[in-house]
């Protein structure tokens, strides 16, 4: 027990207060300091915000934001599906794991952006190539975490499942995947931020649309407030996605957090 009991609304309000204080302070500072800025590269925040509306609530929403988000969604989903699928296979099969381990370690060690030039050579510079870039970078944390999670399935639970005829696909669905889900979700969280980074970078490399492309385009044409607004939008996108992810995590792993809490309470 920590302190007196506070009613939930008040507590929620306080949490929100804590969470918002620093951002509000920072934005205010930025606003004040940049208000009289004559520096060409650091325009006043007010200018950036005005530009933000003009630039992004327009045709660009469809022409640039949508393609980026689509690539991100497909690439991320692909990485998760591939990572979990391969991870379950490798986690369940020791021989396969032993054979593939050194190769996997090597590929994982390559910084994903380094793959971009090669992938673009082979897959062209279209959407497919960008999706491949995202998948090839984001798949690793999901894959390796899934392998670990699947390997760590409890013996007793495993025996229990067998003796009650929970085998094959039912075993995968009711035992292996749920048991590995805390690790899988941790891998998915890392994969999400890697995906965003790779989405932006791949668009900066070679593209005809997208958020990364736009930011570079603005910078090259000295449209500085527009460039800032693009960066701001990317930050917001990442922030919103991470919030959504937290929501997903809290819902899907409610049992796990509850279990952990009860174990801590006992010991």
């Amino acid at each position: 027990m920590r302190g007196p009991v506070v009613d939930p609304v008040l507590r929620w309000g306080r949490t929100l207060g804590f969470a918002l204080t620093l951002p509000v302070v920072l934005v205010t500072l930025w606003w004040v300091w940049s208000a009289d800025s004559t520096n060409y590269y650091a325009p006043p925040l007010q200018t950036i915000l005005t530009t933000f509306g003009d630039v992004w609530f327009s045709e660009r929403l469809r022409a640039d934001v949508l393609p980026s988000v689509t690539r991100l969604a497909i690439g991320y989903t692909g990485a998760v599906v591939l990572g979990v699928g391969l991870g379950v296979l490798l986690g369940a099969n020791r021989t396969l794991r032993r054979v593939t381990e050194p190769v996997l370690e090597f590929f994982r060690a390559i910084p994903p952006p380094a793959l971009i030039p090669i992938l673009f050579l082979f897959a062209g510079i279209g959407d497919t190539a960008k999706v491949i870039v995202i998948v090839s970078g984001a798949v690793w944390p999901v894959l390796l975490n899934t392998v670990e999670g699947v390997r760590a399935v409890d013996d007793v639970l495993s025996d229990t499942s067998r003796s009650y005829g929970v085998t094959g696909l039912a075993r995968l669905r009711h035992l292996v995947l749920p048991a590995a889900s805390p690790q899988i979700v941790a891998g998915m969280r890392q994969a999400l931020s890697i995906s965003i980074i790779l989405m932006v970078i791949s668009e900066m490399f070679a593209s005809t649309n997208g958020l990364g492309f736009s930011v570079i385009q603005f910078q090259r044409s000295f449209a500085i407030p527009e460039m800032w607004s693009g960066i701001l939008l990317l930050g917001l996108l990442g922030f919103v996605l991470s919030l959504l992810f937290q929501l997903f995590e809290r819902r899907s792993l409610r049992w796990y957090h509850g279990l952990r809490r009860s174990q801590r309470g006992e010991n």
Partner: protein
């Protein structure tokens, strides 16, 4: 004369792994009749869990066979349910109590109405009619073990295997759960094989008690428990016959701890040891 439902013949199990071999079970032969309640008692490390896993088809014996209703066991049989010692690790923490009890029934392809009925009846039978939607980790240890028992009961097995199911719960809960097992046994007519290291528990619960030696393990004795069928914690446990039987098993266990299976033949003719204290357990220290 009851027909043997479960037949264990010459079961031996040697674990081999990374340069080390452990002969956990040397040679076990016994049979269990339809509807019997048999307790297996033996010192820690005697291979009780190993034996139970062989019977449950979870482990392949190195030698010997297990036969259930005339068919050789070579994988988990449909007609068997197991309750493990580690209740905290044998319930699915991501499923509600109801989900845990229902899952095996889904695997049996029972229809929804029948499943619901079995789940409700089983949870009611173990005194947990009001926790259907709770998660296992929200329950006390004793309640969790009840859920595991309910799951086994709902499965409608012919044989129920229980591996030290009450080793980790407090004394009062334990007494309640022992009575629960006896009443379920009476009500369902199921065959129960109950493993424990607690001598009192084995005598209180069983119609028969099998005493195991230390590893490598053989059966030291197959003792019939001639206590009345109606048993109560207070009266049964304070009856003179209970004390005698308990004392007898205790002596066997003491012998079992010091003599290995290979000396078993000579031990059988050894004279009985001296008397012993009032409260008796196979492993007072563990």
């Amino acid at each position: 004369m009851t027909q043997p439902l479960l037949d264990v013949a010459g079961v031996q199990k040697t674990y081999t792994g990374s340069g080390r071999t452990v002969e956990a079970v040397r040679d076990l032969t016994f049979s269990v009749g339809d509807g019997e309640l048999v307790c297996i008692v033996g010192p820690s490390g005697a291979g009780k869990t190993t034996l139970l896993k062989c019977i449950a088809g979870l482990l392949e014996p190195t030698a010997g066979t297990v036969t259930l209703a005339g068919a050789r066991v070579d994988g988990p049989p449909d007609a068997m349910a197991v309750v493990f010692q580690e209740y905290g690790r044998s319930l699915f923490p991501w499923m509600t109590v109801e989900g845990n009890v229902e899952l095996p029934l889904k695997q049996k392809k029972l229809d929804k109405a029948r499943r619901r009925e079995l789940v409700r009846d089983a949870l009611e039978a173990v005194g947990l009619a009001d926790v259907h939607s709770a998660y296992p980790w929200q329950l006390s240890g004793g309640m969790q073990q009840r859920v595991a028992i309910a799951r086994a009961v709902a499965y409608e097995p012919k044989v129920l295997l229980m591996d030290e199911p009450f080793a980790a719960v407090d004394a009062q809960t334990r007494a309640d759960l022992e009575d629960l097992i006896r009443s379920l046994w009476h009500k369902l007519g199921v065959t129960i094989l109950f493993v424990t290291h607690d001598i009192d528990e084995s005598v209180y619960l069983g119609q028969r008690v099998l005493v195991l030696s230390s590893s490598p393990t053989v059966i030291m004795e197959d003792l019939a428990i001639d206590l009345p069928d109606e048993r109560t914690q207070l009266e049964t446990r304070s009856s003179p016959r209970f004390a005698e039987l308990r004392g007898h098993v205790y002596e066997q266990i003491q012998l079992a701890k010091h003599r290995k299976g290979d000396q078993h033949q000579r031990d059988e003719v050894a004279p009985a040891r001296s008397a012993h204290g009032a409260t008796v357990a196979a492993e007072p220290g563990s």
